[in-house]
């Protein structure tokens, strides 16, 4: 943060000679403001001076400096960002410096829409000169919060608008090594394999990606993301999904493991059955074994119905959903 912040030596703007020609404009609270209690003087003074230069439309270097001060004190004030852009345009400001400025602010305000939009505005102007900086920047933010929606959104834009795809799949792999439950990283992985001009497209990548997701599933069957990812690999081609032995076999593996985290395995099996999977005897047996330990001991030759029964019992939060699924089964 700025060295002025909390610095007892900060000289109020009202005492600085280079601001002596400006009359600060207080906030207009409308006709009936409540009696004010003293609050952070620096903030109030900075915003009063900002309002003055904003109303005077002064697009000068000192105004630029003032917007930086105002932003440091309150990064959410979109009018200040707006005016800063107008000044940068008028002064033809150094945009590489601007990247540095936004990075400093972003470190403590990483979920702020204004910062990200400003960063994008700057990067758009710099074009491919900014590519590696943008990828580095989003990486830094993601190191602090690997699920930051803004960072991912910005990163996707950078890749599509400016390029830099080379290491992206590896980057997804790294993040998933750190946290296999990171849904954002799974989403990015899907984005890469379907959109990157350097890879062969979804079908070409399918085999290796199926192996990758199966491995993730087996390690943590309760992880929602790789199940959805696996399904996504067969986009538009349900038959291949149903017929791929790896899909039914990962369900079998999880269900046989005698752990309590088989809900997604069961729901995937249910979907497979609904799309025509002819279940193996092993699958039937392992589901039967689960049924015997459930609360309702209702014999039913229809495997899909049995799966729904078990799900109602092991995932009671969504009992209505599983009941509905059961009702939709063709007898």
């Amino acid at each position: 943060m700025d060295s002025d912040e909390g610095n007892a030596q900060r000289v109020p703007l009202s005492q600085r000679p280079d601001w002596s020609d400006v009359t600060p404009v207080p906030q207009d609270d409308g006709p009936n403001p409540v009696v004010p209690i003293a609050y952070k003087e620096e903030f109030v003074e900075t915003m009063n001076y900002f309002r003055a230069v904003y109303l005077a439309d002064e697009r000068s270097p000192r105004a630029l400096w003032l917007t930086a001060e105002a932003i440091r004190l309150n990064a959410g004030n979109y009018t200040v960002w707006h005016f800063r852009r107008l000044i940068l345009e008028a002064l033809d400001g150094d945009l590489h410096d601007e990247l540095g400025f936004t990075e400093n602010i972003a470190k403590s305000n990483s979920k702020n829409y204004q910062i990200w939009h400003h960063r994008r505005w700057v990067a758009e102007k710099l074009g491919t000169d900014a590519t590696s900086k943008e990828l580095e920047f989003t990486k830094k933010i993601l190191t602090l919060d690997a699920k930051n929606y803004h960072a991912w959104s910005h990163r996707q834009w950078v890749l599509q608008a400016l390029g830099g795809w080379d290491d992206e799949l590896h980057y997804c792999w790294q993040l998933l090594e750190e946290d296999i439950f990171n849904n954002s990283a799974w989403n990015q992985r899907y984005f890469v394999i379907t959109t990157s001009p350097l890879l062969g497209g979804l079908e070409a990548m399918r085999e290796s990606e199926v192996s990758y997701s199966v491995e993730a599933i087996v390690a943590h069957p309760e992880n929602e993301s790789p199940w959805r990812y696996l399904r996504g690999l067969y986009k538009g081609d349900i038959e291949s999904w149903v017929n791929d032995p790896q899909v039914s076999s990962v369900c079998l593996k999880v269900l046989s493991a005698k752990n309590n985290n088989f809900t997604f395995a069961l729901s995937t099996l249910l979907d497979l059955l609904c799309h025509g999977l002819q279940p193996s005897q092993e699958l039937r047996d392992v589901v039967d074994a689960l049924k015997a330990s459930g609360e309702n001991d209702q014999p039913d030759p229809d495997l899909a119905k049995t799966v729904c029964w078990i799900l109602e019992s092991v995932d009671p939060m969504r009992a209505n959903y599983w009941k509905w699924r059961k009702s939709k089964l063709i007898s």
């Binding site: 903030f43 109303l55 009018t79 939009h117 996707q156 439950f181 989403n187 986009k235 939060m317």
Partner: protein
Amino acid sequence: MGELAAEKHVQYILSVEKRKDDLVSVVMEHLRMNGAYWGLTTLDLLGKLDNVDVDKVVSWVMECQHESGGFGGNIGHDPHILYTLSAVQILALFDKLNVLDVDKVTNYIAGLQNEDGSFSGDMWGEVDTRFSYISLCCLSILRCLNKINVEKAVSYIVSCKNLDGGFGSTPGGESHAGQIFCCVGALALTGSLHHVDKDLLGWWLCERQVKSGGLNGRPEKLPDVCYSWWVLSSLIMIDRVHWINKEKLVQFILDCQDMENGGISDRPDDAVDVYHTYFGVAGLSLLEYPGLRAIDPAYALPVDVVNRIFFGK
């Protein structure tokens, strides 16, 4: 089972509306229009909107309108679509839409639609499906959907649909309950819900309910009261709300209340704010909690208000 401390929440909101001088209020002054919408709608749901000076609010709202027709977050702030919707919604609450120059506002919004059907937030060009929802909602309230290219608006939203049935902020963006509300809402308002795979999305949405009964916004994230709105209203719009456990969600929201000072927080024992107070009460309304007025899931306004807009008094 806990109870809704309705009167405490009313007092909390009224105190926030009056409070303009503490650091929190000062720092948030640029989005006061949103804060006013959250506070006032909550009061209306609790049946206490008559505690507010209508004329004072309406004149303040109109002072926030820019030459361009858009509204800023407060007096002296630049226009943005976010505050334009809140302004229009506030006027609707008070049945004061007639103070608007409808052409002026709707032209501002229409001017923000891009070639590909998406909408920018303001002149600076940020694009996000949130802005698609906001534009369509605002134009719908003002009965001017014909001013934009609805077909393209819809096709842009559909391009943001993901394989899990959800929607992101831009094409390829991760499915997120907030963005899903915006996209589903936008499709609902334009009669385009057939583009949603309701069973698939309904399942994704009901998987947001975690052990505590609360809802998260994405897999493996913490529950937050605001998702009681984003997820719930989405489920209602696609007719799948019975897939979540309502009792547990009600309990979660009630547990997020500050029973002494009023207000609701994001999760139990955190600090309260107007935003979460609104979403908690709105969520309870969607869950038909007794004593609350009904809220429309697409317009995020009381049903009475929506009926008044479309069917007159």
